[in-house]
């Protein structure tokens, strides 16, 4: 065989490879919603689209897109069209998330950064946004430090702190289920802070911890932990797992009949998890951070109808609302000061109360001064196997808890902001 024919073959391959690479590059560069124009305002969304948190990320994206539509329909930000640049942060790789954040800020020159669902990733990109002085909204990463010991002047968070969720559910649990608690806690930042919050809240009300186990993130088989939990004879088994872990743990607990012997409960619960469970496993006392079935609160019905249209008939979840509120917050901040200057915008948002068509809850929601934490209502209630009127009505709210009543004081959070001079 001559070397010529070999080189031709190589060229053909090289050509295909190049073509493929170009094709991939098209997909790999950020997925831009609405057309690129010369002087648009850019919002970068750095959130999981693959991995464990893909379902949650997708719902936050649906909410974000609706907010974008609303903003552009009202003339954009400062009269300029707004575009959303979406990057996949992955579900657990902080390196990728940080690299995407830097790319959005340095190369795409975004005016706002939004993300992340994973607490660790949220904290990591918040540090980047702080370094680059970019207005940053965290839609759904809960660990306390983001607006606590590691807070920054430019970082705002829509979802609750784990401490707020814990305090909100604790009194209801002590009252209705008993004082001896056993904890099954995922072994990472989110789980640790959530358990610490619950222990503290329970101790104030006379509750005790009779045992607990840290379960590795991504555990599939919970049987050995459940064997230990029932041997401790608690009143309540507390499940702090999120996402797919929560589905696995609850499904197995109910198959073992533990729901008939103990009260199964936890702090944060999400509609995505309940939808993934078979009906008999949709049980327990939980906190929802936002719920779609609020018949007497204005604007909620319209929001639900619009999301149904955008998502093929599904109701919005708390995640959808996080995405919606996060993007809306960016637009509001700019409108307040008629500028895209991050410091000016961040100052204007201190203590700012979200308008009711964004807050979508009975008592509204505001960003606490000096912390950047949104203080909303929390919805405590019970999971239900199927809704009376809607197949996705899987939660019965028994108590709407005001965020102020459960949030730690600013001093207790440990948040100290240093503003640029």
């Amino acid at each position: 065989m001559s070397s010529e024919s070999f080189s031709i073959k190589l060229d053909r391959r090289a050509l295909i490879k190049t073509a493929a690479a170009v094709g991939v590059a098209q997909i790999a560069s950020p997925f831009v919603i609405t057309a690129r124009a010369a002087d648009t305002v850019k919002i970068g969304l750095d959130n999981p689209l693959t991995g464990t948190y893909a379902a949650l990320g997708k719902n936050e994206l649906i909410g974000a897109k609706l907010a974008l539509e609303h903003i552009n329909a009202k003339g954009g930000i400062l009269g300029r069209k707004v575009e959303l640049l979406v990057e996949d942060s992955t579900s657990g790789d902080a390196g990728t998330a940080v690299q995407k954040a830097r790319k959005l800020i340095d190369r795409d020159k975004v005016d706002f950064l939004v993300g992340n669902i994973n607490s660790a990733l949220a904290q990591a990109i918040a540090n980047v946004a702080y370094e680059k002085k970019v207005f940053h909204v965290v839609p759904g990463g809960h660990t306390d430090s983001v607006t606590g010991s590691n807070c920054h002047w430019n970082v705002f968070r829509i979802c609750n702190t784990t401490q707020m969720e814990a305090s909100a559910v604790a009194s209801s649990l002590i009252k209705n289920a008993g004082k001896k608690w056993y904890y099954l806690t995922p072994d990472y930042a989110f789980g640790h802070t959530l358990q610490a919050g619950l222990e503290k809240a329970a101790a104030k009300l006379g509750g005790t911890k009779v045992g607990g186990d840290l379960t590795p993130l991504g555990t599939t088989d919970y049987s050995s932990y459940l064997i230990k939990a029932q041997a401790a004879k608690p009143d309540v088994i507390i499940f702090l797992q999120a996402g797919d872990d929560a589905v696995n743990a609850l499904k197995q607990a109910v198959q073992f009949g533990l729901n008939k012997k103990f009260h199964l409960a936890g702090a944060q619960q999400e509609l995505e998890v309940l939808l993934g469970l078979p009906p008999e496993a949709r049980i327990g006392t939980w906190v929802f951070e936002w719920y779609w079935n609020q018949p007497n609160v204005p604007h909620v019905k319209e929001f639900v109808a619009e999301i149904r249209k955008a998502s093929g008939g599904h109701v919005p979840t708390a995640r959808t609302w996080f995405g919606y509120a996060a993007i809306s917050t960016c637009a509001i901040a700019a409108q307040q000061v008629k500028s895209l200057d991050a410091v000016k915008m961040a100052k204007a948002m201190q203590g700012f109360k979200l308008p009711p068509e964004i807050a979508l809850m009975p008592d509204g929601a505001y960003f606490r001064k000096g912390q950047g934490q949104l203080i909303p209502d929390l919805f405590v209630g019970q999971a239900q196997s199927k809704g009376a009127s809607d197949p996705e009505d899987l939660f019965k709210v028994s108590d709407v808890v005001k965020g102020e009543s459960v949030a730690e004081s600013l001093a207790e959070t440990g948040c100290k902001q240093t503003w640029p001079s």
Partner: protein, 288 residues
């Protein structure tokens, strides 16, 4: 304490049986074709999703029979179109290919069935505990062990008593001679791959009975299966079975004493085996 330990050993055997089922399929493919099939978890997910889609039409039992067969057909197709091309090359090539395939399958299932985990339901009489004390013994879990037992017995029957099985075993030992003797090695490898993927599909249907059905389900189950093979010994199917049971029991016992290390302990075991007896507990010397 003793009771807790006993429960966890017992429970570990049940968990281990499941790991073994998945590991056996991996082991079959590895032994005959030298392919480290990283996409095995992906085929497991396909089995689960196919069952979910079939249940409304043919019920749980029908899906349990049909979904693994369909998965095996997909496996056979993948072997013909992709994996076959890499036989005879360094195992690294097929490892990279199947590694990529695993991502493609994960995103493919996400594209078809959505990222939201789906509520998979098994007949309710199966998922009630059989006794109040042994609450972790549900009908479903015993049934699972039974299916694993039947599959393992069937597999050993095929390998020891049928022409296909004897050829597979012979091929495992010396592929060249088998091919010189006139056996169609391509077809043999193809069927063997299908058999391995059948086991993955079966494991998939059984898994989603007690786990959530989501695109990442395969990724979370694949590593223990690899560990089972390495601990049990490469090239040995009884070793794989033993390896699966051992890691199940080991992580069960660890839960009693040091719960946050239940995942880590199986890797510690793997490292220890590799250091002390690199071929694995029942493995043959000189493979790989």
């Amino acid at each position: 304490m003793t009771q807790l330990l006993f429960f966890n050993v017992f429970n570990g055997l049940i968990v281990g049986a499941f790991y073994a089922l998945m590991a056996l399929g991996l082991s079959l493919i590895l032994n005959l074709s030298g392919v480290i099939n990283f996409a095995h978890g992906g085929f497991l997910a396909i089995g689960g999703y196919l069952a979910y889609s079939l249940i409304p039409y043919i019920g749980f039992w029908g899906a349990l029979v049909l979904a693994p067969v369909l998965t095996a057909f997909i496996g056979i197709l993948v072997e013909r179109v992709l994996i076959r091309r890499l036989y005879g090359r360094d195992p690294l090539y097929s490892l990279l290919l199947t590694f990529g395939l695993a991502f493609i399958i994960e995103d493919g299932t996400r594209f078809i069935w959505g990222a939201q985990s789906l509520p998979f339901q098994v007949p309710s009489w199966l998922v009630t505990p059989l006794s109040d004390d042994y609450f972790f013994l549900t009908g479903y879990r015993l049934f699972m062990v039974l299916v694993v037992g039947i599959a393992v017995a069937g597999l050993f029957f095929i390998l020891n008593r049928t022409r296909l099985g004897i050829r597979i075993r012979a091929g495992t030992l010396d592929l060249e001679t088998v091919s010189v003797l006139g056996v169609n090695v391509r077809l043999l490898r193809n069927m063997n791959f299908g058999l391995g993927i059948y086991l993955a599909g079966l494991a998939g249907v059984l898994a989603v009975g007690q786990l959530g059905l989501q695109p990442t389900i395969g990724a979370s189950l694949i590593m223990p299966s690899f560990v089972a093979i390495i601990v049990g010994g490469l090239g040995s199917l009884p070793g794989t079975l033993l390896g699966g049971m051992l890691i199940g029991v080991a992580s069960g016992i660890t839960t009693v004493f040091f719960p946050s290390a239940t995942e880590a302990v199986i890797y510690v075991m793997m490292a220890a085996v590799l250091l002390v007896r690199p071929r694995g507990l029942l493995g043959e010397e000189g493979r790989f």
